[in-house]
Symmetry: C2
Subunit: 504 residues, 2 copies
């Protein structure tokens, strides 16, 4: 990427001036929505709504033409009807706008006529303006104080996670979910048809973006496959990349064609090529989030797990899962098993790993002692602890009450457990992952969910990730392990663990 | 199953008298917990807590010995230490108790000594008392008013779903989740080691149980594999059966051995054999629930789906998913696409199927018209509608407010949509499945979850199931389609659709 190209994208993510075309005076239009969004999101640059009708909106002057604008305009957001886009784009070119986002649909994804329009756009772009889209939401940049994703409460906290997406919906979902998972975003781009700037360009830009630590991508089609894979190989040496390739089934390919005009491609070929280029592949947004969470919290992810929790099937289930995810649950040594056994006066719990604690509410001191025993004596990379939140927050208090005792306060068990686990994590340098499983889904049980979410925030703030199920926890760990291996491999280092995990 | 054996199990599920051994006077013990549970659950028969210390508990006389009890005792719940179990079991045999549940652990799952104890138990059982367990929670029978699953708020409403489980945890999770999904239970059995009564017996009993419409099973090992499969073949002719076989990986097999002393068995062999016997196999509790929900609500499940929703990636993603699940998303005819197009003035939405509505909040009237268009003219079995609850409940109201308008009330959109969809479902005889996707997971966003749950209850009460994601909806539909095909196949009918779906 040439320095001047990089500069154009720098300006796009931190524009001094932003011009908006389309729907400015039309209530409940996309154009008006994105205008209001910038104000609400706290954009610090200048906003220039443009409409031939003139007037005012939200206290801002509406310019009749971009030519009337005096200050620099780095980014234009265009949501006029498709056929009017070339004209607007030419105005932007004349003004020296760095990048134009074309939100409008009706281009290559809509058939022949649209394809012709898209060609016209490309010709204009070639004269010195870059295009994001068409048929996209555009960018989201907390540091730049702008967002074109639909929503009014995105987090403004910048962080290391970047995402590029051919679907605005997927990008928006990720941006909405991210804060609850403690994932702060650097840059998000929904680029739709990607007629000019595409996956390859954004990947290349983000590779050298100091703000971005790791990347996620949702892609439906990739035009310059070879070029993209070359860039990808370079990126994955330094930054983990998680890719969800949509449209890999015959059905999905048809849908992708009408969504972003993309050719889906052949599943087997893509999977292999992406893996070889060092990207972790996932099959959906939740799986992508699971992996990003593991990458965010686990400094030293590894495939050897210890599992701790109540309910024996967690053991069997989790073991089956671990196998499917290419992870290991090595049996504890006899010595460790013997020492663990001391904490369980009655039989019935397996001490082997997973450690079935029987009771879902062992005293926090005991849990800490068990975890310490394991992390001190066993060569495991990650301790996964499964907590039955419903049991803690509904059954245990009910049982106390029935026995005439004062029930423990809401969330008190998980609160008490946090300090010991945090200290243990720090002292041993090992990773701890929590699973808060909640089987209380009636409307009147939503309080359990609320407590669970509050506690999740606390754990995350101490560097301990929380997943809603063992399945998702193991899936996330597996993704992070694969990413780290790929990175070691691409850096030419010796691979420290067995063969890469092979999620099906 | 002989009539007298059936009678023994009938009595077990509806006991006139219930004797409880172990932990009676020990606060916070499992024995005391299950005693209190019966009172709270509303058991109508007689409760006989037995402890040599005598006295009273919860207003009930504690008998010093079972011999002191005069009335009939159909069921005994035993949670004394393993070594004391044989003696108690003999007392039960002498008293003429029909079935003894042995909750205690420390038998074959605990090694050689435990195995010897388990043999002793079997010898006593052979003399005329049946045993559930050991190392189990036991039964849950809303009609009988008893539950030995740990929890104090299980639904008391009886219904058609039966479950047998070698894991008490899995059985408990299912019973906890069921009410939120509108799944009412007939009988649940957690049978742990299954030394006497086992999967085969319960399956045979439930096959002819008029209360049970369909069945779920979590199994770690099956002793008499051939006998079990024979029974299964008979059952699946009349009742769908969903089986989660745990311990199929080498890791899981080891865990199963120490959990219930079960031999996991070889994955490929089990999968094939279960499918041939007509059971739908799943890989976890959530997948099991997804399938049960589809079986519960869909009278005529079929593999041909129409998808309707905002956000194009839902289309691509859902199409990929459908392919993986062996389902079809047939393209709509040109005529239908043309008529659908009338509802969308601007381009950008695919009319092909999935129908990408662009806006996630189309007016309910429009949604109804679109759905009617599809269900009237297209040969689809199930219409799946994806709703972004977060957008409806957070973005839309915020946008109204920003425009100086009165925001719509909480849940009002989904409430308005329900009547039209219910009528449409009735008039067309087709199935409708909703997906309420909620990407609001911060503690302060829990209100969105609450609204979503309330609306879910309403939809379910109108016969429309609600799933939290497209992935889970399609997984459930796929399971139900497979179950119905298996049933047709086993009844010797012509198979109406292509080859059975093959979830990976």
């Amino acid at each position: 990427m040439k320095p001047e190209e990089r500069l154009q994208l720098d300006r796009m993510f931190n524009p001094r001036g932003l011009a908006l075309f389309g729907g400015i005076s039309t209530p409940v239009s996309f154009g008006q929505l994105i205008l209001l969004s910038q104000i609400r999101y706290g954009f610090k640059g200048r906003l220039y709504p443009i409409s031939s009708r003139g007037g005012e909106i939200a206290g801002l002057k509406i310019y009749r033409s971009l030519r009337e604008v005096e200050g620099p305009v780095d980014l234009a957001a265009i949501s006029v009807p498709a056929r009017a886009v070339p004209q607007v784009l030419r105005e932007c070119l004349d003004k020296g706008v760095a990048v134009a986002q074309i939100h409008s649909s009706g281009f290559v994804e809509a058939g022949e006529q649209g394809a012709a329009l898209e060609s016209e756009i490309l010709k204009i772009a070639a004269q010195g303006i870059r295009v994001v889209g068409p048929n996209c939401f555009g960018i989201h940049s907390p540091r730049g104080g702008i967002t074109f994703l639909p929503g009014f409460d995105f987090s403004t906290e910048p962080g290391p996670v970047a995402m590029i997406s051919q679907s605005g919906g997927v990008a928006t979902d990720l941006a909405h979910e991210a804060p609850a998972l403690g994932l702060a975003l650097s840059k998000v781009v929904s680029f739709g048809n990607g007629c000019d700037l595409d996956a390859r360009d954004f990947m290349e830009y983000l590779a050298d973006d100091p703000e971005t630590g790791y990347m996620a991508a949702y892609l439906e089609g990739i035009r310059d496959g070879r070029g993209f894979l070359e860039i990808l190989k370079r990126v994955t040496r330094e930054k983990p990349v998680v890719i969800w390739k949509g449209g890999l089934s015959p059905l999905g390919a048809r849908a992708a064609l009408s969504h972003t005009g993309s050719m889906g491609g052949e599943a087997g070929i893509w999977k292999g090529a992406l893996a070889q280029a060092g990207a972790v592949t996932v099959k959906g947004l939740d799986e992508m989030l699971d992996t990003l969470v593991a990458l965010r919290y686990l400094k030293n992810p590894g495939p050897r797990l210890a599992l701790l929790g109540g309910g024996g099937a967690i053991g069997v289930f989790a073991s089956d899962l671990a196998h499917r995810q290419g992870l290991q649950i090595p049996a504890f040594s006899r010595g460790t098993q013997k020492r663990l056994r001391n904490y369980f006066p009655t039989p019935g719990n397996s001490m082997a790993n997973p450690l079935d604690t029987g009771s879902p509410a062992l005293p926090p001191d005991t849990v800490r002692a068990l975890a310490e025993e394991i992390l001190t004596h066993e060569p495991v990379d990650v301790l996964v602890m499964v907590v039955l939140v419903r049991t803690l927050e509904k059954e245990v208090p009910a049982f106390y009450t029935m026995n005439g005792l004062e029930p423990p306060g809401a969330g008190s068990y998980l609160r008490e457990l946090l300090d010991p686990l945090t200290i243990l994590k720090r002292e041993t340098g090992r990773e701890i992952v929590m699973v808060f499983e909640n089987r209380a889904h009636l409307p009147e049980e939503v309080e359990v969910e609320k407590i669970s979410r509050k506690m999740q925030q606390r754990y995350q703030s101490q560097g301990i990730p929380v997943y809603p199920s063992a399945e998702r926890a193991l899936r996330g760990i597996s993704g992070a392990v694969a990413a780290m291996r790929f990175m070691e491999h691409r850096r030419g280092r010796r691979i420290s663990h067995g063969p890469p995990g092979s999620p099906d």
